[in-house]
Symmetry: C2
Subunit: 210 residues, 2 copies
């Protein structure tokens, strides 16, 4: 592995484990067992590392968002899709645990983060339409925008909510719970199928927990 | 007004307007046109002011939560109740704009904030039951807990979400939009009445905006 990639990988690990605000570029160099000078050769300080990680996250998330085009043709597809989306966010979870603090420290990222939320929202709105076309869900058109907003609130604040209300954080369990949470928002729109759809989701959720 | 109360009032105003993290107790004394020594006589530093404000918020919010017992007998009652809850939170909005950052700076408040969220969640779960008893909503019992979680996510992160996605913050409009958002979560559970209930909510929302 190239040094540049190793720096990014170890930094991401440290930021996710210990939070970004308390770590310096010297801490990162120490964890890598390289000199601060060597680190500086690749990245001009911690800011540059944060930005490179954000570039990577932004790129990967947009690939996932594009990939959903026409690919969500059932409630099960949607489950899997939300799962993939949450896993990607989880890989870069330090961005989401204290969003306000992070964006105050890196204001240039705020614009990009906002644009990414807007892209996620468009994506969710499109999926609602995709599920409606074959009649899998039926949403009063006046409720479509509030439903998309609600899903985006969950996709944006699930990690902050977990950080706020729990001392012990179990990532995989949290991802499954959050997929279930998002899917529950869709259940009442599946009409007569709702009890069956929900039963299937709960079984799926219980299996995933094991 | 007593000096102690004036200090709390002006501090709340400043924290809400400019954020808490950038302000010192000297800034507060200057805004009040009193000496730092006089401020110190009433509060031993900014921490003590923050804690006194939190005491007040906690007390007022719990009064509102208790007040809902048996008082939410219709969808309209619930609208008004959520409105009152959000207005109270809005009065102390600096606590909610950057929750993670604030609780990292005042860890003793984290325990109390968590207990307050739990009380809010119990309250919302109780209201769901209250609305179900006379048949105003009907929620699959397996969806009750996810619905309460969803409403709590919105009640906790509505201000952080607004701070994240908008440059211009219009408090009254945001409160109305958030009440509407929470109420939309209930609409699909009103059964055949859903289109009528939603129509009435939208009219109410449009009138409130004027």
């Amino acid at each position: 592995m190239k040094t540049r990639d190793r720096i990014l990988e170890v930094s991401l690990l440290l930021f996710n484990e210990e939070g970004e605000s308390g770590l310096s570029s010297v801490d990162i160099a120490n964890a890598l067992e390289i000199s601060p000078g060597n680190l500086y050769y690749h990245f001009k300080g911690k800011d540059a590392i944060i930005r490179a990680l954000y570039d990577r996250f932004d790129e990967e998330l947009r690939v996932i968002l594009r990939g959903s085009k026409g690919g969500v043709a059932s409630i099960e597809d949607n489950w899997v899709y939300i799962y993939i989306l949450l896993e990607e966010i989880y890989d870069f979870r330090f961005f989401y645990r204290d969003i306000a603090g992070l964006l105050a420290r890196y204001p240039d990222l705020a614009v990009r983060f906002r644009s990414l939320i807007a892209a996620k929202r468009n994506n969710i709105a499109q999926i609602i339409d995709d599920l409606e076309r074959p009649g899998l869900i039926r949403v009063d058109k006046r409720l479509k925008s509030p439903l998309a907003d609600q899903i985006i609130t969950t996709l944006t604040f699930w990690l902050a909510g977990d950080a706020l209300t729990k001392d012990v954080h179990d990532g995989p369990a949290l991802i499954h719970k959050t997929v279930f949470q998002v899917m529950c928002l869709m259940v009442p729109y599946t009409g007569e199928a709702a009890p069956t759809v929900l039963g299937r989701m709960i079984r799926h959720f219980e299996e995933a927990k094991q």
